[in-house]
């Protein structure tokens, strides 16, 4: 029985590469990005050149030919330095590109997955609506087939990546009919940026992730060809649930990276900051906090990697992905909270990175399925 969890050389080198990239190309800009909320075009383009925007997709579709574990490692390493860059990559891959890879026709893959994977354009996924958050079945956006075209009307909110100069396409869930059972038939349809009737609102002002692009989208009689349907009509719900399994693993990795970043700041500070004549890390009140933080990060990392390895092995992993996302995001909130506590008053100041990590953590308990939804998914998997 093989139980020694160890990354192989390929993964270790890849981690090193992403870490070097994040340290050298992202870290010097983090404060400015946080301050201004500017989208980091230079960084995103460089990530594209490195293949980071298409890690899990095959080389024949412009990807790096990696797997989900490599992707999770990359997101973790990016988040350790900057959450905005990490979520930009995560949403682009798990949500913006995955529907094309998993359900797209060969032609759709050639036309859209290739430029997405190569990082020439950014992709988005539009699921959430003002009245359809956790209750995704309550989708109101409609797509009616008229004269060989989908006519789309509705609103999507909290969408990542749609409004940058690099944004190319959004895939949305829309009601395309009513089933004989009376339930809504939901399908996935993609809409290229620039399509008339596809309106993109200004950026939201957010608690965290200042430099990521998050917007409301509005569709008014927006027409796209019938061939813009992704996968089979009526399978939109099933498709995005599967994409979300993958997304949750990546969000778990993002939470691990965010927590790791905050932890490293706190550890260094605990060794440097002197109070009552000794470094505060010598006091049990602080050292035990750090011991707990390190322990929880280790648990969450193992959960995320295991779920990623299961996805790569092609075995069912809905439960493990949900558990990893649930635990890692809540762990990240606890860890970043303690990191701020260790910094004391300085932790409340914007100029200290722990304050940024703390604010970036909260959304992880909400996005791509709230903690409550994860508990629902897990209980369902338990047969409840």
């Amino acid at each position: 029985m093989k139980m020694l969890f160890e990354l192989d050389e390929e993964k270790r080198l890849f981690r090193q590469t992403v870490r070097d990239f994040a340290e050298q190309e992202i870290r010097p800009h983090v404060d400015r990005l946080w301050e201004t909320g500017e989208f980091p075009y230079d960084i995103v383009r460089k990530m594209g050149e490195l293949g980071l925007l298409g890690i899990p997709w095959p080389e024949e579709y412009g990807g790096a030919g990696g797997d989900y574990l490599a992707y999770a490692i990359a997101v973790e390493e990016l988040a350790r330095v900057d959450g905005s860059c990490a979520i930009t990559v995560e949403a682009h891959i798990s949500l913006g590109s995955a529907p094309f890879y998993y359900y797209g026709t060969e032609e759709q893959k050639r036309e859209w997955l290739v430029p997405l994977a190569q990082g020439r354009i950014l992709g988005s996924f539009g699921l959430t609506e003002p009245e359809a958050g956790s209750d995704a079945g309550n989708t109101k956006t409609r797509a009616e087939l008229k004269d060989g075209q989908w006519v789309i009307n509705g609103t999507k909110c909290f969408i990542t990546n749609p409004g940058t100069e690099m944004s190319g396409v959004v895939t949305i869930t829309a009601v395309t009919g009513i089933r004989p059972s009376g339930k809504k038939e939901i399908s996935n349809i993609f809409i290229p940026k620039g399509t008339p009737g596809y309106n993109i609102a200004p950026k939201y002002k957010k608690m965290g992730w200042h430099a990521s692009d998050t917007r409301e989208l509005n569709f008014v009689d927006c027409k796209v060809p019938e061939s813009n349907l992704i996968g089979k009509r009526g399978e939109g719900f099933k498709q995005f649930l599967d994409c979300l399994d993958g997304g949750r693993i990546a969000i778990a990795a993002l939470a691990v990276g965010t927590a790791q970043g905050a932890f490293e700041e706190a550890l260094r500070y605990a060794k440097e900051r002197v109070q009552f004549g000794q470094p505060i890390g010598k006091f049990q009140g602080v050292s035990f906090k750090l011991a707990d933080m390190a322990t929880e990060i280790e648990i969450a990392r193992n959960m995320a990697y295991k779920a990623a390895a299961m996805r790569d092995a092609g075995v069912p992993h809905t439960k493990e992905a949900s558990m990893a996302k649930l635990f890692a995001s809540e762990m990240c909130m606890r860890t970043t909270t303690q990191a701020v506590q260790i910094f004391g008053g300085y932790g409340f100041m914007d100029e200290y990175p722990v304050s940024r990590f703390f604010r970036d953590a909260k959304i992880l308990e909400i996005g791509e399925g709230t903690s409550e939804v994860q508990r629902m998914v897990i209980s369902r998997e338990l047969g409840l």
Partner: protein
Amino acid sequence: MNLVVCVKRVPDTAESEVHIDASGKDIDKSRLSFGINECDNYAVEEAIQIKERLGGTVTVISLGPKENDEVIRMALAKGGDEAIRLEDEAFDGGDGFAVAKALAAAIKGLEFDIVFTGALADDDGYAVVPAALGELLGVPHATYVKKVEILEDGKRAKVGRELEGGLLEFLEIELPCVLGIQTGINEPRYASFKGIKQAAKKEIAIKSAADLGLDPSEVGESGSWAVLEKFTPPVVGEMAEILEGDPEETAAKLAAILKEKGLV
């Protein structure tokens, strides 16, 4: 152009506390992370850039245990073609000269136009290898190289050496030669995921002292001119003068001292 680049794996001590280990001859490396020597990273990039411009091959060589494979593979992932790792207990404890002897023995069997090394190592900082290697191979060498331009005939190179105060000394050097590369000569690339995958398939040839035709007494500690006796922490000097008082006072005192010593 056939290019050889020698790389060393060193501990990263920039952000770690460094302690002397029980032997007194080394530091405790158990909690340190390791990576390629900084100068060597630039040497790898320079070799790959020249190969990309002029064609040829890049052979990566490293002396050390299996852990060095990671450093070698990263160089392969960036564009290196072949790799050799020199591993033998007989190499242990060698100084820069002994290391250069092992490297030279490995390089003698190759066709080469330029051998790149880092100008100095981050750990021991001897800066001996490039010069010793040049002598042992019987070819000219230059160190602290911050610019390399292969001249049109392909038989000479114009190299800029970094001097004090940021000055560059330019000289023409005949190929084949050894160049000790200084940081900042280029912008080292990041390995792509594709490159990493391809590098995983490449073979790293392992060579012992015997494979290189070296007698164990020629290399390692017994083949060294300098032998490390012990490490000691720097003695806290009595020369330091701590200025006390509020910022205005200390600034005034400092200014007075600088003036008195003729430093401003």
